[in-house]
Each structure stands twice: as C-alpha cells, then as structure tokens.
Symmetry: C2
Subunit: 230 residues, 2 copies
Amino acid sequence: MTELGKLYGLGIGPGDPELLTLKAHRILTTVPIIAYPASENGKSLARAIAAEFIRSDQIEIPIHLPFNVNESSAPYYDQAAEQIGEHLKTGQDVAVLCEGEPMLYGSFMYIFQRLSGQFPTEVVPGISSTLASAAMLGVPLTYRHDVLSIIPATLDEIKLRDRLIVADAAVIIKLGRHFAKVRKILDELGLLERSLYIERATQTEQKIIDITEVEAKEVPYWSLILIPSN
Amino acid sequence: MTELGKLYGLGIGPGDPELLTLKAHRILTTVPIIAYPASENGKSLARAIAAEFIRSDQIEIPIHLPFNVNESSAPYYDQAAEQIGEHLKTGQDVAVLCEGEPMLYGSFMYIFQRLSGQFPTEVVPGISSTLASAAMLGVPLTYRHDVLSIIPATLDEIKLRDRLIVADAAVIIKLGRHFAKVRKILDELGLLERSLYIERATQTEQKIIDITEVEAKEVPYWSLILIPSN
C-alpha cells in the first residue's frame, strides 16, 4: 500500500514575504504540490505573498472561491478537497497556503475540516494581520490585565456595540463595505480618537489613513481598525 | 555627528526556533547587539528560543526582571533602556528579542515606550502563542462572524466570568497560579467540555493535557486554555 501524503496548512503571514516563518518557508520550498485560495478570475493574495519562493516544477492547485459573498463556498471547498485528496492518496505531500494564521478565520480551516480525518495533517502557524498591524502602526496593542477582542465588522450594529463597550483593546476586521457602520458606532461610543485604520498591512500597498479621512466606499476587505489599550 | 543606531523589537515566536520569521532571522543574525528579558538568575526563554542563531561575537544585554511579581519592573526597564540607548547613540543597531508578538502583552512594549521617541525604531511581528496554540491543538479557533477574546487569567472572578459569557471563542492566557479560579468559572459556565489546555506551546517541552486532569499547582505561566468557536 502506498503511504499517504501529508497535508500541510501553511500560515504565510499578512503580506510581506519576509514574514513567512522559517518553517513555512522550508515546507513551501520542498513540497511537490501547493494549493491556495483564488478568486474566480484567478487572483490570489496567498500566491502573491509566496510567489518568489514557488518553483516552476511545483504543481499548483488554485482553490477557486465565488466572487458573490452570498454564494456558498462549500461546493468549492468540496471540489478542492477532492482534488487535494487525490494527490495525498498517491503519497504526495500538499501544502495549502493560507494568508495570516490558518486557524483564525482562515480559509484553510475548510480544507482541514474535510481532510484532516483522513490524512496526516500539520498546521504551521502564521503571522496574523490582526496582531501584526500594531507593529505597523507603531502602537502597543494590549497591556497586562486588558482583554483583547478580535471583532468581525460583519456583525450587526447591536452586537458590534455590545462587544466594543466591554473591550479594553480591540481589532475590528473584515471592514470592506461595513466601514461606515463601524465608524458610526465608534463615534457614538467615543472611541474614534483611539481608533487607528490600516489597510493591506505589511503588503507593498499598505496604507495608514487617519480614520476620519477614510472614504467608506474605498475600504477593501483586507483592512482593519485597531483600538489599543488605554 | 554620529548617526543613531536602530532599535528593533523582534518577535521571535512562542518557542520553536523554526517559527521565527525570515525577517526576524535576518535581523537577529546581522545586528551587533541583542537584548532579551531574563529573570534575576539569568534564565531567559527569549534567548533560549533564539540560541542557535546567536553568534559569539554579538554583544548580549540581558534585561533582568524581578522574580517577585509584586515588585515593580519599571526601574529594571529604565536601566535596560539606558544601557540599550548608550549603544544606539554610538550608531549601533540593537535587536530586543521578545517571545511571541512584541505588541501583545510583550515585554518589548516597555522598552518601546522608553526609547522609540528618541531612536529610529522598527517592530517585527512574531507568532503569538495565543493563536499558534490552535494549530498545536489541531482545532480551528474562530469562524466567520465570531468574536475572539484574549483574556488574561489574572482578572478577578467577576470580570473573568463577564468576559467569558459574551465570548464566542476565547484564549485564556497567563494561567500559572490562576488556573483553579479559571477552571471553576469554566465549569460554572458549562464551558469546560469545550476547553483545551496546553502549556509551553511549540516548545520542546510542550504538553497537552485534558483540562480535567491538570494539576493546578503545576501550571506554569506559559500555559493557556483555548475555547474554540462552537
């Protein structure tokens, strides 16, 4: 019987290729097959982050995900998992690249759910933009006895407000089209002055903008607001 | 006039030396001077993590911190900052090693506060054990619209309970002598079954123990409880 290949979930960090860990770099440059999430038109942030390390003799599996946020990703992950599983069955290792930290809102979790029961699996932690943004903004994020909350901007207003009221420090992620709603709540809670905005942290296109000057319509998904400890 | 040296805050991750980033590794192996927190007897987790990369011709500055948790660390950081500042003034770069992520409860924040106004400073994000533990435990931590709370076990019972009640997913850090208090609250809130215990994540001495079998007296500071999204 052929020995099964190993499935790696590789955290490749928030954007700067130099923020890959030594371990992710070693695995990425030695596996025969890599997979990564990509939009339907083939664009992939994960692949772009790792691009300089990918060899031309590595097989690439783009995991195509739907553009439309209301369309379920499940069948797309099913298909990718099947394709990855075929390689693992023949004894080849597959590294699935994942922006940031794979186990924190990471796309890899959906591959993990589908395959980790059947194949040897190892997850390699990566730098999460949620925490790395503090270094980019030059502010300590959380001190001593303070609680840090990582809050998706996709929550409704009531829940967002409730969570922000009790947070000592917070990172609000997945802003995109939710920016205006979040800004309004921060204003109401008197938190706007403490709030710092950054988009595409550590990527070459990184932008830090005064939160009062951010254009709601231009806020990308890969942006966040940081509220450091008082 | 001599050009000032650059102060680096280097996140070196939770324990496995291979979890240094390529960037932290590059800086660590090229600066003339490194500093790191150490207990009064000279023990230093940060130095141990980076040990294999440290060259014999690098100057080392241990930042001695008090054993006694009730003694203020401020004068110790004052002294270290002065010593580091002397080198920076002569144009030499200094890298301050910091376990995990420097801006998240990191010891480097206290050096940052004292020196970043006077010297060019760069903080290099590191892998935080708070997030890396999920990979070690093999569980996805936070999904979709869920809020993740990072909660110090040092909080009093009432605050701990309040924060845990509203958390979708949580990481309780700095357990040490606070374990019994935390375990009791998790039990009361019906969260014990979902709670996973790990100590010294990614270090060679890493231990994963069923939370109901953990001996309160033996819980080290470098341990945490992870409560993944439901």
